[in-house]
């Protein structure tokens, strides 16, 4: 039943520094890291960022397997990207001729370089992003967003959406279990019928529940500002982390 909640919530151990860190600091560092990744060029910087992300993920108490498995897809995408560049870039000396049916595929050193660059950029960026995804609870992030003058209605909507994603998934699981207990999936025909009902009802049910939930929120004084603007000063510890982080990223950038 709770699968829905696990797949999207932060995974790390909430007592560790990397998870408990102020959302503003995290957001700034995330953006800085992604920019460094994008602007640096070359192979070294993205590779360093990827390693850094992997180390930090472990340090935050996320099971390494969770990280590795979620990185599998970016790896696949990176490989594909590498391949496309081998096809599309014809630059530098010729390294290899691969006969491909009636046609010949020329692999050049420029293609290899560009391909590797692109692939590593994807891996570096996704690594950093994944670290963030695995260790940051949404409310913290939204408070930070409010601090950076994000339009309140966007913050509000993001929060509500986030909540309703769970509602939708929860309703899906509830309906499926209810159907299952009444022979809903014992035969292919019943299964088809049940899936159709499930699909049709899901959005209606969620809509109703969302409305009732929202009414309950109104009853408890909700006036649209789900998260108050974060005015509290940055704790010294977090400020240090910010400075250190920026310094580290700058160092990495100069290593390019």
């Amino acid at each position: 039943m709770s699968g829905a909640h696990q797949f999207i919530d932060a995974q790390g151990d909430s007592r560790r520094l990397l998870v408990a860190l102020d959302g503003r600091v995290k957001l700034v560092l995330l953006l800085a890291a992604l920019l460094v990744n994008l602007l640096a060029g070359g192979l070294r910087v993205p590779l360093l960022l990827l390693l850094l992300a992997a180390v930090l993920v472990m340090a935050a108490g996320v099971p390494p397997r969770a990280f590795a498995k979620r990185m599998a897809v970016p790896v696949l995408i990176a490989l594909v990207a590498l391949l496309t560049q081998l096809f599309w870039v014809k630059d530098g000396e010729l390294l290899l001729r691969v006969p491909l049916l009636a046609w010949e595929w020329l692999i050049t050193s420029g293609g290899v370089r560009r391909g590797l660059e692109l692939a590593l950029r994807i891996l570096g960026g996704m690594g950093v992003l994944l670290f963030f995804a695995l260790t940051t609870p949404l409310p913290e992030l939204l408070r930070a967003a409010r601090f950076f003058r994000c339009p309140p209605v966007l913050v509000e909507l993001a929060m509500i959406m986030y909540r309703y994603i769970f509602l939708l998934l929860e309703e899906g699981v509830r309906v499926r279990n209810a159907q299952k207990s009444r022979l809903g999936y014992v035969s292919p025909r019943a299964g088809l019928n049940s899936s159709a009902i499930l699909g049709g009802m899901l959005i209606l049910r969620t809509f109703d529940r969302a409305e009732r939930n929202f009414a309950a929120m109104l009853c408890r004084g909700y006036r649209g500002a789900l998260t108050d603007v974060m005015t509290r000063p940055l704790p010294k510890r977090d400020a240090c982390v910010l400075l250190f982080g920026l310094g580290l990223l700058l160092t990495i950038f100069t290593l390019r």
Binding site: G3, F7, L138, Y164, V173, A196
Partner: protein, 264 residues
């Protein structure tokens, strides 16, 4: 997969109506489950677009998002229940576009967009905002897509998808087609247009020394086998939901201002 395991167990199938649809739908789900990289990154992944293009697409999408936010702010003042309505469609778009089908070329994935539905129910501008937010949440919490590519993804799925779908819906309504086919057209348009523009963005950024058009063609070809059936499916699902809602809960159609549609 630790992450995708729960996803697979708990993600409800998207919305289908009728037996035939459900078949397609089961095929789709089976496909998703069988493909090893099932929780694939959505949309254009982080790191693919170089800085210049990333910035360009952000600038291109920004005015639409800004207008959408303004519109939402205005309607919210009149009707407090507008926010949960947006929220629920946002959630639907999020979940809908969580069914990725990896495409073997170009470092992206094919998947239903869901913006057809939100464009019909909410109008194109609000739909852009919804798409923007679900892309943002996907990037931040599932590491699907990316942050620097958020502009590009918002432009293709949000702007092009929503406006395309809305246009198709309006046009077919004008032509007096039955509600199902209007939804169908909107769904197909949302899906195909999203992919046409995603491919365009990819080709612009990655074509290297090859001619842009050649690369664009190759990407289209790569997307085609998965995207065409998917677009048809999304069309059918969108139409199915519209009809289903009209039959069972006409009050919801009335609430979102599709009253006249509900009457037909």
């Amino acid at each position: 997969m630790a992450m995708s395991g729960p996803v697979r167990r708990s993600l409800p199938p998207p919305f289908a109506k009728g037996g035939g649809l459900a078949v397609c739908f089961l095929v789709l789900v089976m496909g998703v489950i069988l493909v090893p990289a099932n929780a694939a990154a959505m949309h254009i992944s982080e790191g693919i677009l170089p800085a210049g293009w990333a910035l360009f697409w952000f600038l291109a999408a920004a005015p639409f998002v800004a207008l959408g936010v303004r519109q939402i702010n205005r309607r919210k003042k009149i009707d407090p229940m507008y926010i949960p309505l947006l929220g629920i469609f946002g959630a639907a778009v999020f979940v809908f576009s969580c069914f990725p089908i990896p495409v073997p070329v170009a470092g992206s994935t094919a998947h239903p967009a869901g913006t057809g539905l939100s464009a019909i129910f909410l109008g194109p501008f609000a739909s852009v905002v919804i798409a923007f937010l679900s892309l943002l949440l996907q990037a931040l919490f599932l590491a699907h897509g990316g942050l620097t590519t958020l502009g590009g993804n918002t432009f293709s799925m949000g702007v092009v998808g929503s406006f395309g779908a809305f246009g198709a819906f309006l046009l077919t309504r004008r032509l007096g087609l039955p509600l199902f086919w209007c939804g169908f057209a909107a769904g197909v348009a949302a899906d195909l247009l999203t992919y046409l523009s995603t491919s365009l963005e990819l080709a612009l950024a990655l074509h290297g020394d090859h001619s842009f058009w050649g690369v664009l063609g190759q990407i289209y070809l790569a997307f085609m086998p998965t995207q065409i059936p998917l677009a048809l499916l999304e069309g059918a699902v969108t139409g199915g939901i519209l009809v289903y809602v009209r039959r069972n809960r006409p009050d919801i159609l009335r609430k979102v201002g599709l009253t006249r549609e509900a009457a037909t």
